[in-house]
């Protein structure tokens, strides 16, 4: 039974990790443009930033 005292907090820790990850995605604005993100992931040219040109063949 004592194993519960280890496993239960551990699984809670895993749950908390995913909650923090969710909080991070929210802060990073990952839900602002679902359609645009769906298009960007398929196209190398759409990666933003200074390495934009470098990504092109």
């Amino acid at each position: 039974m004592n194993i519960l005292l280890v496993l239960a907090p551990f699984s809670l820790l895993l749950g908390l990790t995913s909650l923090v990850a969710f909080w991070w995605t929210l802060r990073a604005g990952q839900y602002e443009d679902p359609q645009g993100d769906a298009a960007r992931i398929l196209d190398d040219h759409l990666r933003e930033g200074p390495d934009d040109e470098a990504a092109q063949p």
Binding site: A8, S11, L26, G36, A39, D43, H45, E48
Partner: protein, 722 residues
């Protein structure tokens, strides 16, 4: 647009302390990833642009300009050249605070989801124990303490939106739905702690947090609906006339936001643009289309010294105006006052959910109190009494009620949105569903709002067509449209407000007003054009504002729904009667002022009818805000779109469609209420008798919420086009 004019859009750029600029544009026409790539490329390749990011979901392009460099007009031109027309946002509206409320609701939802999921780890074993499986007291204690450690912080955090709203409602001495929710959650936590301390079996930590999770889903959906409607309404405004062209003392034409126009400014209005504020003509002559202001279809000739109203469409000549009023003062003040009064009377409307809450809150709280007093009185002790009272509050907690309305309305408005109908609020849908009477404006609503050539011999049309193709006047344009493509006359001279002269096959010809062409027609109708070669016989073309294609079908659909239809127009009797008869409407009133429109609507409502007003002009705005519900087409003036509950693009079928969906939504909401009532009638007595344990409470709560959501989704499966 005049070639010499310098377009200056710098008023739309905000610069920070390092002079780095920010600009937001609404870009139309983007549909897929390829469009996205082309738009960002066009913007990034414009000189002075540091970064550009396009949001495909909201069609908004955010551009960062390098310090002291970059020109907004260049970006607009580059996007135009790429095939995507762009409109800059007014900075005061565009860079608004981000959707903070949505984020904090989403975070609360995430925390509640975490809590609801993880607390089950500890409560499910206890539930098993409730049915006689082996679980000794100590283990149960440990489980409950774990559950408390997870659920309490989660419930307190996720419950904040409800606690805040309940508190502010109590301070206004009213009880909204959040009051029983807050009391329920807090009482549940307290009772569960005391049970755990006393080594009891009935702790409801899981119920408290699961309840909040389900309610937050409803709250989040409701928020999304309002947000989408708000931003769509803002986009529509940006697409209207957000800017005016000001002619400054240095001779440069600057594009400025409308609210920056001061009395005395000189403004340039080219054909095809709307007059931004009330003004006096200084220079130039042109025909003005006042249809949006007065509902009249006939164009009015305006020359130097003439007074023009904001919203009039310049048809034929370039005008230089001197502003005589600021934008806020331009709409006739009386109309604005009427609109305010109308909006007030409408805000008194009590929404279905609030009606339900007003009934529900006192009943449930009385029941809980009676349970507490009763159980104590029959000698079961204060602990059992408190436990049963808490159970009553938990099982009757308005999960289903809280979801009943938002879930249905988000499905309904999403369905309308896909058909090009924008619903501004959930309350609008509720009011729309009660409509018994539809009042249409004529111009721009029943009709297309632009003249069409009435039947003329094809040979005559072909003769005049070369001149018509050279003119910008709407009558000439519709003549050119009727003729199709072909040659254009040479040596064109367009005389603003009169007509156009040119050479066809070596012969000079004129197209325009009777007097211009050289005909002495006594009563010169405004909806006619004359054409003739010099010294030859003259021919007359008549035009009429024709009905939208689907008007008749839309009116029939409304009749079939048992709705009364009538036309109230500011236009003269002849065209109104013709349009009404063609559309199959028997009741019509012509030549009414904006104030009479309001009183007609008021009279109808006083006789117990629920009126839906459909209009597009400034003259309809007051009636729109007075009516029980209102709709405006996307082509309407700002004031009307603001006053209307729903804005539709596309055909008139939107009216019957919207009413149909609204009625269906109301039916679903009432079904959901009925189900909730039935559920509570079973659950409350069970809780009072002490038949509810934590397992039953958890099942009943999530089960009832699920039923309500599934019932709302049924709207998508329902009959009708999608």
């Amino acid at each position: 647009m005049s070639a010499l004019a310098v377009r200056d859009l710098s008023a739309f750029v905000t610069r920070d302390t390092e002079a780095r600029g920010r600009l937001e544009l609404l870009v139309s026409g983007a549909r897929c990833g390829a469009c996205l790539a082309r738009i960002e490329k066009a913007a990034r390749e414009t000189p002075g642009v540091e970064a550009a990011r396009f949001n495909l979901t909201t069609s908004k392009l955010s551009v960062t300009l390098a310090p002291r460099a970059g020109d907004a007009a260049d970006i607009v031109d580059a996007l135009d050249a790429a095939g995507y027309p762009a409109t800059p946002f007014d900075p005061s509206q565009a860079i608004e605070k981000e959707d903070q409320e949505g984020r904090s609701l989403a975070l609360a939802l995430g925390v509640a989801a975490f809590g609801a999921g993880n607390v089950m780890m500890f409560t499910v074993p206890v539930w098993a124990g409730l049915f006689g499986q082996e679980l000794d007291g100590t283990t149960r204690q440990v489980m409950y303490w774990f559950a408390a450690a997870v659920a309490t912080p989660c419930a307190l955090f996720a419950g904040m939106p409800f606690f805040r709203s309940a508190w502010s409602s109590l301070r206004r001495r009213r009880a909204n739905m959040d009051v029983p929710i807050s009391i329920g959650v807090i009482l549940t936590l307290i009772v569960s702690f005391s049970e755990t301390l006393q080594q009891g079996e009935h702790a409801y930590f899981d119920a408290a947090v699961t309840l909040l999770f389900l309610l937050l889903i409803g709250r989040y959906l409701d928020h999304k609906l309002r947000l989408r409607a708000r931003s769509a309404a803002r986009d529509l405004l940006a697409l209207q006339t957000p800017s005016a062209t000001r002619l400054d003392a240095d001779g440069v034409e600057r594009t400025v936001p409308i609210r920056d126009v001061e009395v005395g400014d000189r403004l340039v209005v080219v054909p095809g643009d709307r007059i931004p504020v009330d003004a006096m003509v200084e220079d130039g002559t042109s025909d003005l289309d006042n249809a949006l202001i007065s509902g009249e279809t006939a164009a009015v000739l305006a020359g130097p010294g003439a007074r023009t109203h904001a919203g009039a469409l310049n048809l034929s000549g370039r005008l230089v105006l001197r502003a005589v009023a600021r934008s806020e003062d331009s709409a006739v003040a009386a109309i604005a006052r009427l609109m305010e009064a109308g909006a007030q009377s409408r805000s008194a409307y009590v929404r279905l959910a609030d009606k339900a809450a007003a009934l529900y809150v006192p009943i449930v709280h009385t029941l809980a109190l009676l349970t507490f007093a009763g159980v104590w009185a029959i000698g079961l002790g204060p602990r059992e009494a408190l436990l049963r009272a808490a159970a009553v509050l938990i099982v009757t907690c308005p999960c289903a009620l809280g979801l009943a309305v938002p879930a249905v309305q988000i499905v309904a408005s999403g369905r309308l949105f896909r058909r090009g109908i924008l619903v501004k609020s959930g309350a609008a849908l509720e009011r729309l569903s009660e409509v018994t009477h539809v009042v249409f404006d004529k111009t721009g609503v029943l009709t297309e709002g632009r003249p069409r050539l009435m039947d003329a011999p094809a040979s005559v049309i072909a003769m005049a067509a070369p001149l018509a193709r050279a003119s910008r006047h709407p009558l000439a344009r519709s003549l050119a449209e009727a003729a199709g493509c072909g040659e254009v006359a040479t040596d064109i001279v367009e005389v603003a407000g009169m007509g156009v002269e040119g050479v066809i096959d070596g012969r000079t010809a004129r197209l325009g007003r009777a007097a211009f062409v050289g005909v002495d027609s006594g009563a010169a109708a405004e909806t006619e054009l004359w054409f003739g070669f010099e010294g030859d016989t003259k021919v007359r073309f008549a035009f009429q504002d024709s009905l939208r294609e689907d008007t008749r079908a839309a009116v029939e659909a409304l009749h079939a729904m048992g709705i009364w239809v009538e036309v109230v127009s500011g236009d003269v009797a002849g065209p109104v009667e013709a349009a009404a008869t063609q559309a199959g409407i028997h009741r019509w009133t012509a030549g009414v002022t904006p104030f009479e429109k309001v009183s007609i609507v008021e009279r109808l409502q006083a006789s117990g009818r629920k009126v839906l007003m459909v209009g597009d002009g400034l003259n309809d705005a007051a009636a729109l805000s007075k009516a029980h519900a209102s709709m405006a087409p996307g082509s309407a003036v700002d004031a009307s779109q603001n006053a209307a509950d729903l804005v539709f693009s596309g055909g008139l079928w939107a009216v019957s469609d919207a009413i149909g969906v609204a009625r269906q939504a109301r039916r679903r909401v009432l079904e959901n209420f009925a189900f909730s009532a039935l559920y509570n009638m079973l659950a409350a007595p069970a809780a009072m008798l002490g038949l509810i344990n934590p397992f039953v409470a958890a099942l009943a709560m999530s089960g009832s919420s699920l039923v309500v959501i599934l019932n709302a989704m049924r709207m998508n499966l329902g009959k009708g086009r999608t």
